[in-house]
Amino acid sequence: MTGRADTRGAVSVTPSRVAFAAILAKDLRSELRTLQSLPAMALFAVTTFVVFRFGLDRTSLSGSLASGVLWATLLFAAVLGINRLFVAEREEGGFDAIRLAPIDRSVLFAAKAAALLVYLLALEAIAVPIFALFFLDSAAGLGPLLAVLLLADLGLAATGTLISSMAVNSRARDLLVPLVLLPLVVPLMIAATGATEPLLAAGGPAYDRFGTWLAVLGLYDLIFGLVGYAVFDFLLED
């Protein structure tokens, strides 16, 4: 990942694609080896389902209750991963290394968001089937739910990366992520639950305003993707 000096002695900048792939591969490899975040997120999600089963005193869920339980659980499990996203960078001097490397700094934002997206998809690959097994009468709504999950994950990855990178450099880092992130993702949750609710309705999946909600999710992803990409440079300066 170091810049190569060409014949005239000028340092060439590593192409962003290469840097992106390197950082993403580094993150996924270290997660695979240490298993710091994902097992905790999945375990937390499953335990939360059990808490909801007794808290709501229901053995099967549908409609708004199902979508609320699913999204609240996924969001809080995501917060666990988001909290830890930059811990290695801070503790092992990764931020300094990125600053020294001849790469465009926004690449770190894109790569970290991609890593978080992978975590979230892996979390959902575990948690959603278990949710269906625990609470749902039919799995018919799960197919179209994939689109909602993917779009909501993109938005969560963008905002989560942005907030996490700021929180990790503060005194109250574990406190700051849930505090700042939750209000920020309220619109995302409104759209995600709005799209999920008819999908998990008792009488089989319906598609009330499904496209509109997906459009809102897409707009949220676009705006916070762009905001994160534009301001991330300033978070790395020192």
């Binding site: 700021m166 005194r171 209000p183 905001v227």
Partner: protein, 240 residues
């Protein structure tokens, strides 16, 4: 130097507030449905509009800070958001009073404007613990600006999402669209809006002036080797 023009601005604000209040009580007609309580509309809605615009203005100042690197803009952004949060408290209180009087409940979840304002308010309430958690002043200013920009983009998006969520189950019966107002009400409303905007600007200017003065005093004391009493607020940025 921040104090320049503060006196005429304050006088204009007081005059405008007096004018708008007299219009509210002596000129604007009584609402046919809601009667006297509807007059809180001239306080509540301008406060809300000014607070929301103030939040976005804080984001614009934050962009200026990141682009120029001048810490002055961070102080502007902080004071703008600070003042808007205070206005936001007033919005929530007046809104609750109005809701109790006209709908019978202190809080109504079906009304999208209420809910979206609450979410925006909660979002900006986290601005203080966020600033407070970062010790290095230079980094604090940069991070706060990033927060202000992200939150500024969040304000319109949030209003859209909440409005869509509610229109599904609840028709907008209490639309406050200005198109439906009679001319006298419209004029009164615009005067109140101008008065609130002036009040916001004056208070922002006052706070900047106060910060700049206390910063100067602190520097002078340091230059004279005099003891500096109390290091002041740790979250509020200093103004040079």
């Amino acid at each position: 130097m921040y104090g320049k023009g503060l006196r005429p601005l304050s006088i204009a604000t007081v005059a405008m507030l007096a004018l708008s209040l007299s219009l509210v009580f002596f000129y604007a007609p009584l609402d046919a449905d809601q009667g006297f309580i509807q007059k809180i509309f001239y306080l509540h809605v301008p406060l809300a509009i000014v607070a929301l615009v103030g939040f976005v203005v804080g984001g614009v100042f934050a962009i200026a800070h990141l682009r120029s690197g001048n810490r002055k803009w961070d102080a502007y952004s902080y004071v703008a958001i600070h003042m808007s949060v205070i206005f936001g408290v007033a919005v929530l209180i007046t809104g609750a009073i109005w809701a109790k009087a006209s709908w019978g409940h202190w809080w109504v979840w079906d009304e999208p404007t209420l809910v979206s304002f609450l979410i925006v308010f909660l979002m900006y309430a986290t601005y203080y613990p966020f600033r407070y958690a970062i010790e290095d002043p230079e980094r604090q200013a940069r991070y706060a600006s990033v927060f202000a920009i992200a939150a500024g983009a969040f304000v319109p998006l949030n209003f859209m999402a909440v409005r869509m969520a509610e229109s599904l189950v609840h028709p907008r019966t209490f639309a406050t669209a200005n198109g439906g107002l009679p001319a006298e009400m419209m004029l009164t409303f615009l005067c109140s809006l101008a008065a609130m905007a002036l009040l916001w600007t004056t208070l922002v200017k006052f706070e900047l002036t106060a910060k700049s003065a206390s910063g100067q005093v602190k520097r002078l004391r340091r230059a004279l080797d005099a003891p500096v009493p109390g290091s002041g607020s740790r979250i509020a940025p200093e103004v040079s």
